[in-house]
Amino acid sequence: MSTSVTSSRGAGTADAAAGSGTPESPGTAPTTGGRAGRAGRPRRGHDLRGLAEKNALLVLLLGVVVFFSVLPASSERFATSENLAVILGTQATVALLALAVVLPLVSGYFDFSLGANAAASGVLAAGLMSKEDMSLAVACVVCLVFGSLVGLFNGVLVTRFGLNSFVTTLGVATLLGGLIQWYTGGQTILVGISPALVDFGSINVYGVPAVVYVVLLVALVLWYVLTHTPYGRSLYAIGANPRAAKLVGIRTERYVTASFVLAGAVAALVGILQLARTGSATADSGNSLLFPALAAAFLGATAVRPGFFNVVGTLIGVLFVSITVSGLTVASAAAWVSPVFNGAALLAAVGLSTYLGRARGRAS
């Protein structure tokens, strides 16, 4: 009895404080005016912590590079331009898919179908060229349209019909995996693929694989869209509070659907680049691409703009994972080390971003 009295007394005072209005906290800094100026902002301690938070992943990345460069087991072969070209070339598709994953995540929606979307687009491109004798350009356009339509399908289901994005896109991914099996008959498509595409996948420009430039170009566009257009800012607003976003005139359903469509188009591009790199299209579900991409996106949300999915952070995330894995490979670590490291890095990233208290990923 006495305990219940004490606990309810606490509740009573809290109620009273809320009822009488929250008085201004004396601790808040004085009003910032135009005259107070940017130089005079009292935020040094805050800034230092923020700076450390923003650049932690980048520092970690540099640390890893230094570590493998001096480690006797790997120093000889790790820090070479050949190895760098290999890393960048093999990770280009993962990086691009990670950027696609980020788009719906910004406003709080998962899209697990992007890996399967990429795989299906690659198979479709190969099939169109080898079975239907389509030209490279037409095949690419058809693929991009296909990827966008898959995104549109996801977006409409998730926004208009209010289905859970997690389950919906998982279902679409499974469905696409099945369609890939049906279309290829389980066979790898080897012949009839445009030599121009395969050449593009293997050449280096200034010592860097050509596909990397495609990734950088897309990253630049997406960075601009997400940080420098009203559309991108609206997506972040939807991620922060969808109801409030609606009430400031953001057409949330349309905007979120558009982000799914854009992500689908980027995923289709991933499929085409994958085809260019390998020169063949296998009946693969695409999940082997998706998981590292998701890991990179979540790692990226701890960097540059901590707590928010962002383009630059995602690229750093991809580099961090791939360079570490490469280092481990060069140092002849056992095969199980890479997946263990990937998993651990993802858990650490999600844990960290949750700890920062601002994880965007509304698991809806």
């Binding site: 009895m1 219940s4 009295v5 309810s8 007394r9 509740a11 009573g12 005072t13 109620d15 009273a16 404080a17 809320a18 009822g19 009488s20 209005g21 929250t22 008085p23 201004e24 906290s25 808040t28 800094a29 004085p30 009003t31 910032t32 005016g33 135009g34 107070a36 940017r38 902002r41 009292p42 935020r43 601009y224 940080t227 420098h228 257009t229 009203p230 800012r233 609206s234 972040y236 607003a237 922060a240 509070n241 109801r243 409030a244 976003a245 609606k246 009430l247 400031v248 005139g249 953001i250 057409r251 707590g307 601002r358």
Partner: protein
Amino acid sequence: MSTSTSADLAVVVTGMTKSFGPTRALDGAGLTLRRGTVHALLGGNGSGKSTAIKVLAGVHPGDAGHLVVNGREADVAGWSAADAAEAGLRFVHQDLGLFEQLSIAENVALAAGYPTRVGRSVRWKELRAHVAELLERFEIDARPEQPVGSLRPAQRTMVAIARALQDRDDGEAVLVLDEPTATLPAHESEALLAAIRRRADLGQTVMMVSHRMQEVLAVADDFTVFLDGRSVAHLVGGTDAGAPTEAELVAHMTGRAFDGEAGRERVAVPQQAGEAALVVDDLHGGPLRGVSLSAWPGEIVGVAGLVGSGRSALLTTIFGVHRPSGGVLRVLGREQTGREDVKARMRQGVAYVSEDRVGESAFANLSLRENLSASVLRSFWGWRGMATTAERRSAEELVVSHAVKAGSVDHDFATLSGGNQQKAVVGRWLRRTPRLLLLDEPTQGVDVMSRVDIYATVRAAAADGCTVLVASSDFFELSTLCDRVVVLRDGVVDSELTGDELTPDHLTAATQSSVLTAGDAR
């Protein structure tokens, strides 16, 4: 009246006192419930009704006072929730606490515990039999396995009542209902009140809080009226001679003899020249059942009404959040088709501040700057991208002009106090220089100083020719801020107050009572 030994008195409370800090919510209030009667507890906002119920329930410990429940004497100061339960007090709150997707049987069992066998498996048959008997006893026409969500609203309330009384239906239990009909449509509340009346006739003691005067008069035997934390009237009905009139009760609630003329519908006269900025005619949709009103440039028009009267729905419908199902809506001279969404109405010059700041206004994790520019994103966009420097500068200017206390415009919005958040939200909308500003509970949970700032801002906007519509449950706010106030009841405009009539007391009377409004409610 305070002879507490009488066997036919279920509850006697005397000298109940409770302070929250410097505010005295209850100041020696008293309450006497006769066994087997329906007792109405009445009073305006802040009169201490809710506090009294919370003290009785043991949720808030009282400061002083004496109470006798079923012959058991106790000090208010030491009264706990366990004591209240043991003494036979049973509470059903406005939020019934039912799980709509679960069956009636499960809802009952979740409160009383499932009957189990060895191994903790549920004895469903026994539970169903118990619940079937309970439904029978409380005259609820439903099966135990039916989900609560499939019941009519009045039946749901009865299930909650049956659940509360399931273990203590011996005539000793005292049922306390907090605004049981507040969210129910008229015919549902009639059904519920009839059921409550039957329980009382069978010997159940009931105390109910309600704002609907006519219902209270129809169902209650006795009345206690609270004003400023004191019980100012205790009226024992039962006989025809003793039944008070509505005007009498309202007079007690407002603390003065009531002038029958006041509160009568009147047409406001000042500053209504030229074309109206807002014309609403016979607007239907959701809780709105034919609202008609007009507002002119420069006017601040208040919207009063009880919960469920359509106060908030009127604003959201005008803003385009909900589509009206019928009626005419003309905004700033333009006839609306009804299909415009929020963005379209914003373009026409309408702005809206929701009553739910945390849920519908704040982007808590975005910066103050981003929160301020959320309504005008496009204006900062050029081919070089978002003009963040200009955005920051304008945010800093807004922070000054709206007296928002913030460390930096780049800090998270969540770090601001409630009052400053609200000032920023108002600023977010006023930077668009709207021609029609809709405010829903603009100062809810806002401290006194911020409230003054917000009033000044709103008045300044009106002085510039903006039409302002303020929905509020705070009668003091409505009477100080508004030029006139329309009172909504059941989705229609019931009356309008202007000039000398525009006082908190008149507003209390107008929202609580219906005899005071002459003629047709439109």
